[in-house]
Every structure is written in C-alpha cells, then in structure tokens.
C-alpha cells in the first residue's frame, strides 16, 4: 500500500509499504478514505519530537471503512464507516474508566520511554513517534487500529468524511481546551494561534457561553477565518502589543481565560523571541514558550490558562511568579477524544457546528510532500489539508 513516511527533518515521502494485518483479537483494519495533516505533525516534520525512525508512517487524523475484523471485535462489521480517535485506549484501565482516556495505562508498548522523560506514560498515539508507542499512522491506504470497540464510532448516514474527520482530533482538542476554561456566561476567552485547533477552540468557547472570543495570530487568512467563521475579534501580534491590547479590550481586566493553541514552536517577536530561537537551535531549551509567557502575563487574576498546544520538554523563563501572584489555574494535556466524540458528533449531525470551514486544500495522498511544505510555510493561504488515499495523485499540482 501507499503511505506517507517520515525520513528525517523536512523529508516525508510517499512509500510503498506492506499492508497492515490484524495482530491482536481486538484490532480492526481500516481502509482510510480521508486523512488530515495536523499542526502537531509539523513538530515531527520539523524534527522537534525525538524517537522518530526512518520509514515511520505519519498521521493521526483519519476516517475510513472497516475492511477486516479481529476475532474479539463485537461492535462493528465489515464495511462500517468509522471515526478513529487519535489516542489508542484500552477502555479497561483506571484512567480510561475515569474518562482520562489520553492517559491510558495499557496502549503504549514503549511506556518506559515516557516514564523516563516524564515520570509516567500516556496512551499510544497513531503515527506520533516511538515515544507514543511507535504505531503506524493513518496517512496511508490502510491502518491497523487496536481496541476498535473502545474508540471507534460509526459515521451516521448522510454525513460526509469531511464533516466528521475533525472529530478525530482538532475539534475535540479545541473543545476540551475551551471546556478546561470553565467558561461562565459573558466570559472573554482569548486564543493564541488561529490554526485549526485555535479556530475550533474559538468556536467551542462561543458554544460554551463565552461573551467575547479573541483570536491572536499573524496570518491574514487565519485572522479572517477567526473573524468570519468564529465571530472572533482579532489581534495581529506583529502589529500591536498583545497584552496591552487585550487589557484595553477587556476594561483593563484581561481575558478570563487564555488558550495556548500554539505549543512548542511559538514564533516569538523581539529580543525574547530571538532568545528562544537561539536557545532551541542550540538545544539549550527544547520548546519555545513565547506564546505561553504572553498568556500568563495577559490573563486576568484568578483566570485559567488552558494548553492544548503540544509541549515536549523544557522551557525557560516561565513567569512562575505571575502564575502564583495572579492565582492562575493551569490546565493541559492530550485530548480525551473518546469522551467528546459522541456529544460533538451530535453537534455536527444536528448542523449546530460545521467544522469543514477550516479545509483550504484537498489532495491525493501522493501529494503529501507538497502538502507538508505548504502547511509549514502557510503558503497559498493554507490552514488545513485533507488527503484522500483512495484518489489518484495530481502529479504535483495542488487542488484547492
């Protein structure tokens, strides 16, 4: 089969690899009909996540059709169209049973690696380095999906792949980020990063009762999308002082909650931005926390900092004093997709929320290398790319 394989920094290729097989009784094989490139895939593409190996198949956002079933799978039959959450969860450990799905005890065969780094492990994730289990990802024609009965949800009739694909990751991720803000009616929620997750967070915050949502970015098309599709007020951080502007927009209080939808590769400005870029390049700090510092300084007293953006290691110059003095609450972590999938699917099916607006590029799987470049450099107004592994490539041309 064809699959998008990682070969090194800024080097992904579409390789022909062996088809996956059922390995365990609770597995299924899914024929992928639509798959996305996620912002967090760019962290792999840029070489910031360790333990990637040449030939690893990327991709953790995908939907498709079940073509083969393990002997212990009971909830599905061949031909079912399914949504596949990005964390792999067993459903039977204490964490899964508490609804903390992304912290599953049992699905990361390389749990010792995360234990060494962080003191404990989390769930395995499709196509996201050997730290997270070394599972083959969904930017491929077929993928092996363990514990199918636990995670997968059937796609209701009448809904297209594009309408449901973001339920695998970015919609629940944005939603969890907003839910973590514990929004009260009339609250102001500011979101750093108007990429796909940031946009989903803005939309979710409004849905959860925020009175005002503010999107912060530097790319015009993303700010426009935030404004038009999510009714957000927007700030271009290259043009104004973000903390001061937020202060002015909130009667001098600061936003009640701040969401970091940027993560470890924040593009900082000024001296501090340069400081982080140099330190990261020299491997003196692993993550560039420019956005996160700004969140902490901007948030109102007693407010919440919610972090859906991925961090991998260590950050410098965290204003811990501000966190303490202002009595802030920090919430972070991978998304417990299984917890949100069904309720959010309801919102999609009942047309209350349509997430397809983020899609700017549609491609065949074979065009993935071009897709990664476009997405990385935000060229051609690129916000979100989806690829159809069953469609023929366009030989380099990009359809949008």
């Amino acid at each position: 089969m064809k699959a998008v394989c990682w070969h090194g920094k800024h080097d992904v290729r579409v390789d022909t690899v062996p088809d996956p097989e059922i390995c365990n009784p609770r597995d299924v094989i899914v024929k992928v009909t639509l798959t996305g490139i996620c912002g967090s895939d760019l962290h792999l593409y840029n070489g910031y996540i360790p333990t990637m190996k040449q030939g690893d198949i990327l991709g953790h956002e995908f939907v498709g059709e079940i073509v083969e079933l393990g002997s212990a799978v009971t909830k599905f039959v061949e031909g079912d169209r399914v949504i596949v959450p990005f964390p792999i969860c067993c459903g039977q450990c204490w964490y899964c049973q508490q609804g903390l799905w992304a912290l599953c005890d049992n699905t990361n065969p390389n749990s010792w690696m995360l234990e060494k780094l962080y003191g404990d492990t989390g769930a395995g994730i499709f196509g996201y380095s050997h730290l997270y289990g070394g599972y083959s990802g969904g930017q491929a024609e077929y993928v092996r999906v363990p514990f199918a009965d636990v995670g997968l949800v059937k796609i209701p009739e009448g809904l297209s792949d594009e309408q449901v694909i973001f339920l695998t990751d970015i919609f629940p991720t944005g939603y969890q980020a907003a839910e973590n803000c514990d929004i009260k009616p009339g609250d102001t929620v500011a979101v750093w990063g108007c990429g796909p997750v940031g946009l989903m967070a803005l939309r979710s915050a409004t849905h959860l009762g925020a009175g005002k949502v503010i999107g912060i970015d530097r790319f015009r098309e993303r700010l426009e999308m935030a404004h038009i599709e999510c009714q957000a007020e927007v700030i271009n951080y290259e043009q104004v002082d973000v903390a001061q502007t937020l202060h002015n927009m909130t009667g001098g209080r600061g936003p009640d909650s701040c969401i970091d939808a940027v993560g470890l590769e924040a593009a900082g400005t000024g001296m501090v931005g340069a400081y982080d870029t140099v330190k990261q390049a020299l491997r003196l700090e692993t993550d560039r926390p420019g956005a996160l510092r700004q969140l902490i300084m901007s948030c109102r007293k007693g407010g919440t900092i919610s972090i859906p953006g991925v961090y991998g290691g260590f950050v410098d110059k965290m204003p811990m004093g501000a966190i303490f003095a202002k009595g802030l609450t920090l919430r972070a972590g991978q998304t417990h997709v299984q917890k949100y999938l069904r309720p959010l699917l309801e919102l999609v099916a009942s047309k209350q929320i349509d997430t397809t607006f983020v899609i700017t590029h549609r491609m065949a799987l074979e065009d993935a290398p071009i897709g990664y470049e476009l997405f990385l450099d935000k060229l051609d107004g690129c916000v979100k790319i989806v690829m159809n592994p069953q469609a023929a490539g366009q030989g380099g041309e990009v359809g949008s």
């Binding site: 062996p18 088809d19 996956p20 097989e21 059922i22 390995c23 365990n24 009784p25 609770r26 198949i57 002997s71 212990a72 067993c90 459903g91 039977q92 450990c93 204490w94 049973q97 005890d105 049992n106 699905t107 990361n108 065969p109 390389n110 749990s111 010792w112 395995g124 289990g133 070394g134 599972y135 083959s136 092996r144 363990p146 514990f147």
Partner: protein, 260 residues
C-alpha cells in the same frame, strides 16, 4: 516490608565500612601471588635502568597485592562488581504495579504458575509437577538458559504467594508476590520480589550471563504485560503485521484467544 527496610539499610552499612571486602577468596590469593610477582619483575626492570616500565609494574603489582591482602578492589567497587557477596546475599529485584482488577483475580492468575511465561519474557515454560512443586525453564540474552525445580512456600489466597528453587539449581532463586487491595477501587497493588543467587567466583562469565536472565527493567515490563492481559485480554503491540508479533504471541499463548 521487612525486606524493604533491610534493603534501604544496607547502603548505609556500606558507607560505614567503605573499604569492605568485595573480592572472593580464590581471587584474593591469585591477586597476592600475581601482585608480588609483578612487583618483583618491576624491581628487576628498575635494576636494569628501565625506570618507567619498572615503576609501572611495581605500582600495578602493589595494587594487586593490596587487593589480595585487603580483599577490596576500587575498580570492582566502581563497576558495582562483587565477587564475594553475590552468592551469599543474592540480587534483589522488587517492583510494584497497580492492576485494575480485584486481588483474588490477580492472585488466581498468578497462582496458576503455568501462566507466568505469558508475561515473563525470560521464562520459556513453567510446568506444575505436584501439589506444591513445579519445573521452570528460562532463556536469557545470548541464548543462555537454565532450568530448575521450584516449591511453593507461602500460599495465602488473594494475598500472597512465595516460592523458591530446590535441588541443584544452576541459578538458585526465590520469589514472592503480594496482592494488596488498592484504595479507592483502583484494583490491586501487586508487589513482586525476586532474589537471585548467581554462583560466585569460579563460574565467572557464565554466572554473570545467568544473572542477566532477569533484570529490574525486564521485571517492570513483565508486570506491565500482566496488567495488560488482566485488564484488556491482550498485549499491546505497535507492529503493523503479525509476522514479528507471532513468535511472542504464540510463545505466550495470547495468539487469538481472550485471556481470562
């Protein structure tokens, strides 16, 4: 708990008598004789005006002699090697893990010793041979293997099992596992202790390899596999094809059936 206390106490004792004996008797004798010989040939070299080699030989000889006389070797200490105590006190591996299943269920799974090779990677097989006796076959890195007979000592249903090797085992060992109810309906806190007594001195390299049959890290991975079998019925793997997974699955009997 007593064993844990004993464990934590021992490093302190070591600190107190820092120059403790860590060289076995046969090795000490060889060190004294060899050291004396080296020192003598150093002296001879010196007398022939080869100062540098002569001095080096004398220093080395002196070190070996000191090692033989006192029974303490700094190099061994820094390498964590001890050729006298291993046979006496053994190597202790101890691990804890919480399994989201009731103590009785975890106990019953473990009590059927023939289940152990399903999650303990170094065990090829365990066959129950009598009411309290069993025969164990193990295989370690580099093809090293060992067999022994074991006898169950304590057996408190739902609480604790302990066993020890009997007869002329190549690698004498004993083990115990406790099953304690975890607070807040979190299942069972499983605590495993295994002691190995690698034969000291003479057996040398073979003994060292035997001692690697089971390491603390492996035991930890073993317990995770036990947890996976009991909680999910299968062992998590990231392989995308059966080929690489088959050998392990078949050897462990987790191929295509639900465990428990």
């Amino acid at each position: 708990m007593e064993t844990t206390n004993a464990e934590t106490a021992s490093p302190r004792q070591e600190q107190r008598k820092q120059k403790r004996v860590n060289v076995g008797p046969a090795e000490r004798q060889a060190s004294m004789i060899g050291g004396a010989a080296l020192a003598l040939s150093g002296l001879t070299s010196l007398s022939k005006r080869r100062y540098l080699p002569g001095l080096a030989l004398m220093v080395a000889g002196g070190m070996f002699f000191y090692r033989g006389k006192t029974g303490h070797c700094d190099l061994y200490e820094s390498l964590g090697v001890d050729t006298i105590h291993t046979s006496g006190t053994g190597l202790r591996l101890e691990k804890l893990l919480t399994i989201n299943r009731p103590p009785q269920q975890v106990y019953e799974f473990w009590h059927n010793l023939e289940n152990l090779p399903r999650f303990m990677q170094h065990l090829e097989s365990v066959h129950v041979t009598g009411e309290k006796t069993s025969h164990w076959k193990a295989r370690g890195p580099g093809g090293v293997s060992a067999e022994w007979d074991a006898e169950m000592m304590d057996d408190y249903p739902g609480q604790q099992i302990s066993w020890h090797s009997v007869g002329n085992a190549a690698l004498p060992n004993k083990g115990s596992v406790e099953f304690n109810e975890a607070p807040g309906e979190r299942g069972t806190e499983v605590k495993v202790s295994i002691d190995y007594y690698p034969p000291g001195g003479a057996a040398g390299r073979g003994a060292a390899r035997l001692a690697q049959l089971l390491t603390a890290r492996q035991l930890e991975e073993d317990l995770k596999r036990l947890k996976q079998i009991l909680e999910t019925g299968e062992i998590a793997t990231a392989e995308s094809s059966v080929a690489k997974n088959t050998a392990f699955a078949q050897a462990r009997g987790t191929g295509n059936e639900e465990a428990i």
